[in-house]
């Protein structure tokens, strides 16, 4: 009978599975014992082309492959820029509108142009790639391929010949030109066009050219001039910016300014390539420590060591505690340490977390819900791991992220907006009532710190201790911050004209609308919690959760009252946070990033002054003073309810070495080292399968079949007789 045969087969199969340890190993058996780092990604990267990739999912990969001129020091905090392919961090030279050079201390208004000169270290070579391969005559081997020649080629590894070449200044210039490419839609084009001289004109020229050519044709960017970027010699190039823009060096550490060789761009633009996903977006080409050899963004991406890597060494200097943490043990050794990094796609957090616990991921971020298992607060409030995890040797690394989550008020709204006293008091009252500490403890499991202003810790201008608290919302009691009692909020509400949540004149209840997206504040328990917070002041909250596009549209039109948003810093500078409230970024008026449409001339003035000052050097003190003034203004006006700065907690297994959390530098893979033997041993120990349930299921199935078998015999006999 098929049923019996089936159960037999299944039990056999399951028994086979059960032999030996690590039956739940999700990787091929052949990979065991190799120097491979295992990690996961949740969202498939959309773009790996350096002009386009902007999100964290993408930069996890691009940062290992591409090398912009600068990088962040792996160990030093606050984050420090150091050279990567250049010989030094460039210092700008300033010129006035008549081309005369100005001293570094010149006032920002006088500066017409700043010039950055970047000199590359010679001898840096690209990863092996077919685009560099040439025939005996020195002509590129894979040029003008027709469809016939492309037959049988499905992935980049199918091209047999590869070669490499040295990195030159032209490659960097080519990439900056690509920022203006009309078909690539670089997210920073609009912003850079205002800064880099000639970029906007190049964009316009390329646009007309693109219209002339067929859709997939290659546009040779070398035929177009970019006046603001010039080649000095083989290894040197200059970038000319309009005005003063001290934050520009941070951009030079991002993949947007990484090199792209012209021949690679040309190679990928041959007809028939795009249909096979043979594009720069899919197979990046760089000088970095790793190269992408397998790209299946649905399940698995593999980075392999670049044999031509230019031999960087592990840093020997770090923060004081790095020595104790063993982060300096590999000082001076050649990078990278691992041969391969395998990234698997994990869409659901539970499998992700469980695979980490089983040792199949070397490190894991932790979701709020698995958190109590991992972490408990120790005496004194420091975070510790649970005994079970410490028993496994798992380490916890925390760092406050350079981001903020906030609930913004739309300053154009008649009820909550405007800088008038009544509305300001209403906003202040709400800022007190919404207990961020409770939110963090319930929903974030303590993974965050309550924000006192827009600047997170680690950013210049953030002040710790009593001086840094938000005096509108907090008191300083017994050497600790404490949220002001609810009575204060109620009093403010009364002064705002809404005693007990009723309009003083009409008795109309105060009803506020919060717009949010499903993922943000949208889930039910958060909404319940939030409603309760507003109810503390007898204010009725109506939550309108919508999909992301709709939400954006409402924000754009200023059709919101309260909204919930977050911001991730692009670079560690206060300008990158404070600009979110500058009036020239107004969402409704200018389509910028100031979703609150906050416009306070006093703040704008402070912001403009702050922006053009450097944090380091003699003028740092002045800058700090201005920032503190600006933050105080924001705390009083309360255009946002400052929510919290999330903390990222990374757990890593005992065999993963040299891991230090970093929030801005992403090219960290090269520093990681793995103790492969230890990993093998522990994985085996942790993954002994439990076999008795199989036996139990078999017995149960038999027990169920027994009455059937008995009944069968009885019936056969009876029919035979009857």
């Amino acid at each position: 009978m098929p049923f019996f045969r089936f159960t037999f087969l299944v039990s056999l199969l399951l028994l086979l599975t059960a032999c030996g340890s690590e039956q739940n190993d999700p990787y091929p058996r052949a990979e065991r014992g190799q120097n491979i780092l295992y990690s996961a990604f949740t969202e498939r990267p959309k773009h790996l082309d350096p002009v386009q990739s902007y999100t964290e999912d993408e930069i996890t990969f691009t940062a290992q492959i591409y090398e912009p001129p600068l990088q962040y020091h792996y160990l030093k905090r606050p984050y420090t820029l150091i050279p990567l392919t250049s010989d030094a961090v460039p210092t700008p030279r300033y010129y006035d509108d008549r081309g005369r050079e100005l001293p570094a201390t010149a006032p920002a208004e006088a500066i017409a142009h700043s010039v950055y000169e970047i000199r590359l270290r010679p001898g840096i070579r690209y990863q092996p790639h077919p685009a560099f391969a040439s025939d005996a005559a020195g002509q590129p081997l894979y040029r003008n391929l027709d469809r016939e020649q492309l037959r049988g080629i499905e992935k980049i590894a199918d091209f047999r010949a590869t070669a490499s070449r040295e990195l030159v200044a032209d490659d960097y210039i080519y990439e900056i030109k690509r920022l203006a490419h009309p078909r690539l839609h670089s997210p920073i084009f609009g912003m850079m066009a205002e800064r880099i001289v000639g970029l906007r004109e190049l964009g316009a020229a390329l646009q007309t050219e693109a219209k002339r050519l067929p859709a997939d044709a290659w546009i040779d960017l070398d035929r177009f001039a970019l006046s603001g970027v010039t080649r000095v010699d083989r290894h040197t190039y200059r970038i000319t910016l309009r005005g003063k823009y001290p934050q520009f060096v941070y951009w030079l550490a991002m993949p947007f300014f990484a090199p792209v060789p012209r021949e690679v761009d040309r190679f990928y633009h041959q007809p028939g390539m795009a249909a096979k996903n043979l594009t720069l977006d899919w197979y990046p080409v760089g000088t970095g420590p790793f190269m992408l050899t397998q790209n299946n963004p649905n399940s698995r991406m593999v980075l392999e060591r670049n044999p031509n890597f230019h031999g960087e060494t592990y840093p020997c200097l770090g923060d004081p505690e790095d020595q104790a943490d063993g982060l300096l043990a590999d000082c001076g050794k050649t990078l990278p340490f691992i041969d391969q990094a395998v990234f698997s796609r994990e869409k659901e957090s539970i499998p992700y977390w469980n695979k980490f616990l089983q040792g199949y991921y070397d490190a894991s971020g932790i979701s709020s819900d698995s958190f109590d298992q991992a972490v408990r607060l120790g005496v004194g409030g420091d975070v510790q791991l649970s005994d079970e995890m410490r028993g496994k040797g798992i380490r916890l690394l925390t760092s406050v992220r350079a981001s903020i989550f906030y609930m913004g008020f739309n300053m154009l709204d008649p009820v909550v907006g405007s800088l008038a006293e009544a509305q300001t008091k209403l906003r202040q009252a709400l800022s007190i009532a919404i207990d961020q500490e409770e939110f963090i403890s319930i929903f974030m499991n303590g993974r965050g710190i309550a924000a006192h202003g827009p600047l997170p810790p680690g950013i210049f201008g953030y002040v710790e201790g009593e001086a840094g608290i938000n005096p509108v919302v907090y008191d300083w009691v017994d050497g600790q911050v404490r949220r002001k009692p609810l009575e204060v909020a109620k009093k403010l509400l009364t002064e705002a004209g809404w005693p007990n949540g009723r309009q003083a004149s009409t008795g109309e209840p105060l009803v506020l609308n919060l717009d949010t997206t499903g993922g943000g504040m949208g889930d039910k328990s958060r909404l319940d919690w939030l409603t309760r917070q507003f109810a503390k002041l007898d204010i009725q909250l109506v939550v309108r959760s919508t999909d992301f596009n709709r939400f954006q549209e409402k924000v754009r039109k200023g059709a919101v009252q309260l909204y919930y948003l977050g911001w991730n810093a692009d670079y560690p500078d206060p300008e990158n946070f404070l600009f979110l409230l500058a009036s020239r970024e107004g969402k409704v008026a200018k389509g910028g990033e100031n979703a609150s449409n906050y416009a306070n001339p006093a703040f704008d003035q402070l912001f403009e002054r702050m922006k053009n000052l450097e944090s380091e050097g003699p003028r740092g003190v002045e800058r700090l003073a201005i920032i503190r003034q600006a933050v105080a203004l924001l705390q009083h006006d309360a255009p946002w309810i400052y929510g919290f700065h999330p903390t990222s907690y990374t757990l890593s297994h005992v065999w993963l070495k040299n891991r230090k959390p970093t929030e801005v530098g992403h090219n960290t893979l090269k520093y990681q080292r793995i103790d492969v033997a230890e990993r093998q041993r522990l994985r085996q120990e942790w993954n002994r399968p439990v076999l008795w349930p199989l036996a139990a299921i078999a017995v149960l199935l038999l027990a169920m079949l027994l009455p059937a078998a008995l009944g069968y015999r009885r019936r056969e006999r009876s029919t035979a007789r009857g």
């Binding site: 049923f3 839609h185 399940s299 698997s344 659901e348 199949y360 596009n549």
Partner: protein
């Protein structure tokens, strides 16, 4: 017969046009091309010009269904609808909004989807038919009663619970198979066994009951009585006569499903991290990638229509009296 087939295939064309119209209407009410552009360009620092450029490049700057600015037949052809859907009839699905070739993606994801769906389907059919036969054999006894109760109980449990429970027990507590993931080649089976078993298990309840009803209907017929009167053993009657005759309604009911197996299972694939077409669809919905959604809807409809035709054909095999004209 051939004429009938051709007629059915021609009949599919207006259906597919209708499907496309509905998809377009639904999707573009939800998503203006502006929304799509924003979705693709990301959140940070997006300028209105960038959106216009994106739309122009992807051909979303035209009117949706009717172009009043054009003349002649271009009123209908110079629109987003015509430009985007006409090519699909030639199996040219174009690129996803992130620039990747859809046809290629579908081909590469078909394997994993089928690797889950086919075993689930075949095993499920075997198990449920056997179980139903067993119940029929013991009809009107306590075994039958409790069997049916078991079936009803099993079909009253939400599929989510099967997956959550199965994953929790087998993978987490017993550590027998990987929790999620997918590997090609010979490695695949250890990833497949759990989702397939769960798929079979969650389908047992309703299918068994359905097959049991079919068998019971069959067993009440005269020829069965005759067979029994001949002195055939009950098991022989069941296997030789009832099963053979009941297979016909079972198969006709099942045929329409077979082509749709390609589409994969949304839930299983996303829970188990299997890179099949089901999770592709879910991802596309979440990312509001219209090109992919459109392609998947189109393929789904084609497969459904193929299933219908197959069903009709299987009717003729079953019952020679039915003729198509």
């Amino acid at each position: 017969m051939l004429a009938y087939l051709i007629r059915r295939l021609l009949y599919a064309v207006p259906i597919l046009i209708g499907v496309n119209l509905i998809t377009f209407a639904l999707f573009f009410v939800v998503n203006t091309p502006d929304d799509m552009a924003r979705m693709q360009l990301g959140v940070k620092r997006v300028t209105p010009e960038a959106i216009e450029r994106w739309k122009a490049e992807r051909g979303y700057d035209k009117p949706l269904f009717i172009n009043p600015a054009a003349t002649g037949s271009a009123v209908f052809t110079d629109t987003i609808f015509f430009a985007k859907s006409a090519r699909m009839f030639a199996a040219d699905f174009g690129r996803a909004e992130d620039g990747r070739d859809i046809a290629r993606e579908i081909v590469s994801r078909m394997g994993p989807s089928l690797a889950i769906a086919l075993p689930t389907f075949i095993l499920g059919l075997l198990v449920t038919v056997s179980f139903a036969l067993l119940l029929t054999f013991f009809r009107a006894s306590y075994l039958d009663f409790w069997g049916v109760v078991l079936c009803v109980a099993m079909m009253s449990i939400s599929g989510l619970f099967y997956i959550i429970g199965g994953q929790y027990l087998v993978s987490k507590i017993w550590r027998l198979v990987p929790i999620s993931g997918y590997g090609g080649g010979l490695d695949a089976w250890k990833f497949l066994i759990l989702p397939v078993l769960i798929g079979v298990l969650s389908g047992i309840g309703s299918s068994t009951r359905w097959y049991r009803t079919i068998f019971l209907e069959e067993i009440a017929k005269d020829y069965v009585r005759t067979a029994r009167a001949k002195g055939l053993a009950e098991a022989a009657v069941l296997f030789r006569h009832v099963l053979q005759n009941a297979l016909i309604p079972i198969l006709t009911g099942v045929v329409v499903v077979i082509p749709l197996l390609f589409m994969g299972s949304l839930l299983t694939e996303s829970f188990f991290g299997i890179p099949g077409l089901g999770s592709y669809t879910i991802d596309a919905i979440n990312a509001q990638d219209f090109a992919v959604v459109r392609a998947m809807v189109f393929i789904g409809s084609v497969l459904y229509i193929v299933g219908l035709i197959l069903t009709d054909l299987s009717y003729t095999l079953v019952d020679p009296r039915i003729r198509f004209h």
